[in-house]
């Protein structure tokens, strides 16, 4: 058991903050308040929060907000950000249109 797996731990009540409506995930327009609220709703991992709020799932795939989200979640959980596992990395690493992704050419010789 560590601080993250210990679900008996009390992280306190959600306390509204003046900057809760600040956008954190620029692509999906997810706010700081929504992320903090999600932690208090019981979502303690970055992967869960990503699926719950879509932060980091927009066009840029979390290039800008991943570190910011991690910091906010860690603060809410009273743990070091280093403890939090970042979200899964998967293809495509950059936005690729479906018609391109499906276009598997035969002729690859460079």
């Amino acid at each position: 058991m560590n601080e993250l797996s210990n679900r008996s731990r009390d992280i306190g009540e959600f306390v509204p903050q003046p900057d809760d409506d600040m956008i954190v995930c620029r692509c999906e327009e997810v706010t700081k308040g929504e992320i903090r609220r999600a932690v208090h709703d019981g979502l303690w991992t970055i992967a869960e929060i990503r699926r719950y709020l879509r932060c980091g799932m927009g066009l840029c795939q979390g290039q800008t907000c991943a570190k910011l989200v991690k910091g906010i979640v860690a603060r809410e959980l009273h743990v070091s950000p280093a403890l939090l596992e970042p979200a899964t990395s998967r293809s495509p690493m950059r936005p690729v249109e479906m018609h391109v992704f499906a276009d598997e050419t035969e002729d690859t010789d460079l």
Binding site: C27, T64, P95
Partner: protein, 109 residues
């Protein structure tokens, strides 16, 4: 052209040997250099807002300039979500402000 560095103390005249092309921004005629990113041409023409966001309808512009953040996307030649900082400018291009994922203002969507 306004917004351009006419002469740079280290890089000299950066526009040397570049071909000027005409493109349209929201229907308005503008000039830029062929092959430079659309975003650079818009910046040189004083355009700050590239799109308005889907949920909150907030303005966005150039943020990373290297194709990572996707904040500078616009509707280019009818195609939405085109990263203007990575897409080279060509003669006659049609560049439009993106509202959500459309080139129509929210009131008309």
């Amino acid at each position: 052209m306004a917004g351009r560095i006419a002469q740079h103390p280290i890089l000299g005249v950066q526009s040397e040997n570049k071909k000027i092309v005409t493109f349209r921004y929201d229907g308005k005629e503008m000039k830029g250099y062929e092959g430079e990113p659309i975003a650079a041409a818009l910046k040189a023409n004083g355009v700050m807002v590239h799109r308005y966001t889907m949920k909150q309808h907030k303005p966005r512009g150039i943020f990373c300039a290297i194709g990572r953040c996707t904040d500078c996307v616009m509707v280019v030649d009818g195609e939405p979500n085109v990263r203007t900082c990575m897409t080279p400018l060509v003669e006659g291009m049609d560049v439009r402000t993106q509202y959500g994922v459309s080139d129509k203002p929210f009131s008309e969507q």
